[in-house]
Amino acid sequence: MSEANQNTMSAVGTPSGNVSPLSSLSAVLWIAWFSLREMSRRRRLLSLAAINLLPVVVVLIVRIWYPDQGGTAQLQLSALTHEVFVPFLIPIVAIFVGVSAIGEQVEDGTIVYPWTRPVRRRAIYLGRLLAAQSVATLLLAGSLILCFLIMVSSGPGVITWDFLKLYFFTFLVIFLGVFAYVALFAAMGTFLKKPILPAILFAFMWEGVSKVPARVQELTLRFHLTNLLPQTEAPPDDLPGMLEALLTAAVKRSPVPEAQSVAVLVAVTLVTTAVGIWLLRQKEIDK
C-alpha cells in the first residue's frame, strides 16, 4: 500500500446515511451490464461462436459450390431454422450460457460480492439472466445475419416477401426461444450443482418428443417455436420424399394458434425466472 495514502482514509468520506437498497431497475441494469462484459470474455464463448458458424458454413458451401442446386434462399433458410437453429443451436447456446449464468457464481462463491451489497437477490438474478439472454441472442442473431448476407449476395432476386417473413419469424423464434430456454436452464443451474447433463437430456431427449405424435408434443418448447415459423416445404419429387411427407403428415399435430405458442413460451420464461429467483433466495454460501 502506498505510504503517501496511509493517513488519508477519511478522504473518501463516510457512507450516506440512506440505507434504502438500490432501486431494482438500476441494480438489474448495472449487474447486467457488468455481467455482459464478463460473460463476453469467457473462453467458452469462442466455442459457442464457432458452433454458431455452422449454418454460416453450410450456406457458404451451398452458395459457392452448389449455386443452382441448393433450392431457393427461402428453402435454405427454412431448412436451417427447422433443422439447425430450433432443434440444436438455440438449446445448445442456451444450455452453456444459461446454466452458468447464476449457478456458477453460487458454486464458486463469487455471489458473495453482490450478496453483500444493498441489492435484492431478485435484482441480482434478473441482471445475470438478462446478460445471459443478451449474450445468447447476440450469438444466434449474429449467425442468422451472416447467413442472410451470404444468401442475398447472389442478387436482390432472393429477397421475396416470403423470404423476409420467414427471416423475421426466425428472429422472433430465436428471441423467444433464447428467453425461454435460458430462463429454464438458469433456474436449473441455480438448483443443481451439476446441471449440464440434465440440461442436455432435456434439450435433446425430452424436446425430441416433438417428433412423436399426440398432444405430448405441445409440452415441448420446440413444438411451440416451430409452430411460430411459416411452413415452407419443397414438394417431394421422389418416392422416399413422398413417403416421408406422408409419415410427417400422419404424426403431425394440427398447429395450435400462434398466440398460444407465444403465451406458452412467455409463461415458461416467467415461471422459470420466478422459480430461479425463489431458489436463489433460499441459497446459502457454504464455501
Binding site: 500500500m1 502506498s2 495514502n5 496511509q6 493517513n7 488519508t8 482514509m9 477519511s10 478522504a11 473518501v12 468520506g13 463516510t14 457512507p15 450516506s16 440512506n18 440505507v19 434504502s20 437498497p21 438500490l22 441494480a27 448495472w30 449487474i31 457488468f34 462484459r37 464478463e38 460473460m39 470474455r41 469467457r42 457464481q105 464458486d108 462463491g109 463469487t110 458473495v112 460480492y113 453482490p114 450478496w115 453483500t116 451489497r117 444493498p118 441489492v119 435484492r120 446459502e284 454460501i285 457454504d286 464455501k287
Partner: protein, 316 residues
C-alpha cells in the same frame, strides 16, 4: 466509546444470540453468543473451528439453524439496505476471473449506489492505496494470491462501511502488505469502525487488537481482552517475571505467599513467579513489596500471549 468484544447489547453493532449451525451431523457453530461494539475484535480459532461459518451467519450469507444474529439490530438478509454500512471480505480467494480489477471494484461501488464520479474517485483511491493501480486493467484471474487478497480488502472497505467483517484477510500477503494491512485495520478501529477480523494465526490477531473472541469446535470459549480472558482462568497459572536488584531475596519472600504456585530464577536473574490468580497477585504484590522493603523495577507477564491462552483453553 465502548471498544471491542463483550459490550452491552445497547452499544453492540454486531450481536449473536445462541446461534447454531450444522451441516448434516457436523456441528459448525454451537450455541454461540457474542456482542461486538466499536473497535477491532479478533475472532481467533484454529482451522475448522467455525470462524467462517460464524462470519457468514453474521453477514447474512447463511441462515443459522438456531438463534439469531443482528447487525445494527437488523437481519441483513431481510433488510439488504443495511449492507451499505457493512463490508465483508470472504476467506476464499474467489473473484470473478474475467473481470478486470477496475471493473470489479467499480461494480461493487455502483451497487452501493455511488454515482459515476464518486465511483471513479473511490476506485482510484483504493487501487492506489493497495498499490493495484498498474494491475487495474488486468483480469482478476491473472492476479497473484496477495493481489487478490488486497482486492478483496479493497471491495470490503471502498464504501467506507461502519461494520467490517474480515475473514482471514492476511492470507497470502507478502510481509510488507501484511504489515500495511495490519496498520490499516488498526486505523479503522481507531476511527470508530467495528472490525471483526478472523485468523488462525495468533500473532496476526495480537498485532491488530487485544480484544479477542476465542472459538473452538464451534463454541465461543471466551471473549474480552487477552488479560481479561487470562484472568478468567484462575486455576491456570500465569507466569510473571519480576526484575529486581535483589532477586534472590525477593524470590525467597514470595515462596509460600497466597496465589503463588512456584518461584524460580531465569538466566537473566529475573524472578519467575507462577500465580494461580493473576488479579489478586497483582493487587497484593505492591502491599507485600512496601511492607517488606522490597524493590521491583519491572513486572512482565510472560505468558499473556494469545498463544498461551489459546493453548490452554483449547486443551481437550
Amino acid at each position: 466509546m465502548i471498544m471491542g468484544a463483550g459490550v452491552e447489547n445497547s452499544q453492540a453493532r454486531i450481536t449473536a444470540d445462541r446461534v447454531g449451525k450444522w451441516f448434516g451431523e457436523v456441528i459448525a457453530v454451537n450455541n454461540c453468543s457474542l456482542s461486538v461494539g466499536a473497535g477491532v475484535v479478533g475472532l481467533l480459532g484454529s482451522n475448522g473451528a467455525g470462524k467462517s461459518t460464524l462470519f457468514k451467519m453474521l453477514a447474512g450469507l447463511t441462515e443459522p439453524n438456531q438463534g439469531e444474529v443482528r447487525v445494527f439490530g437488523r437481519r441483513l438478509r431481510d433488510e439488504v439496505g443495511w449492507y451499505r454500512k457493512v463490508g465483508f471480505c470472504p476467506e476464499n480467494e474467489v473473484l470473478p476471473e474475467w473481470m478486470t480489477g477496475r471493473e470489479f471494484l467499480s461494480l461493487q461501488l455502483r451497487l452501493m449506489g455511488f454515482d459515476k464520479a464518486e465511483v471513479e474517485r473511490r476506485v482510484a483511491y483504493w487501487l492506489e492505496r493497495f498499490e493495484l493501480t498498474d494491475a487495474a486493467g488486468r483480469r482478476l484471474g491473472g492476479y497473484s494470491k496477495g493481489m487478490r487478497q488486497k482486492m478483496k480488502l479493497a471491495q470490503a472497505l471502498a464504501h467506507d462501511p461502519e461494520v467490517i467483517f474480515l475473514d482471514e484477510p492476511l492470507n497470502g500477503m507478502d510481509p510488507v502488505s501484511r504489515k500495511q494491512s495490519i496498520d490499516l485495520v488498526r486505523e479503522l478501529g481507531e476511527a470508530g469502525r467495528t472490525v471483526l477480523v478472523s485468523s488462525h494465526i495468533l500473532p496476526e490477531v495480537e498485532s491488530m487488537t487485544s480484544q479477542i473472541i476465542l472459538i473452538d469446535r464451534g463454541r465461543v470459549l471466551a471473549e474480552g481482552s487477552v488479560t481479561e480472558i487470562r484472568d478468567k482462568i484462575p486455576e491456570h497459572p500465569t507466569t510473571v517475571a519480576l526484575v529486581s536488584d535483589d532477586p534472590r531475596h525477593l524470590a525467597g519472600f514470595l515462596i509460600g505467599q497466597d496465589h503463588v504456585v512456584s518461584v524460580g530464577l531465569d538466566p537473566d536473574e529475573r524472578v519467575i513467579v507462577k500465580t494461580d490468580h493473576a488479579i489478586n497477585f497483582y493487587r497484593t504484590l505492591p502491599v507485600w513489596l512496601l511492607d517488606n522493603g522490597l524493590a521491583v523495577e519491572e513486572i512482565l507477564t510472560l505468558d499473556d500471549s494469545l498463544e498461551a491462552v489459546f493453548d490452554y483453553l483449547t486443551q481437550p
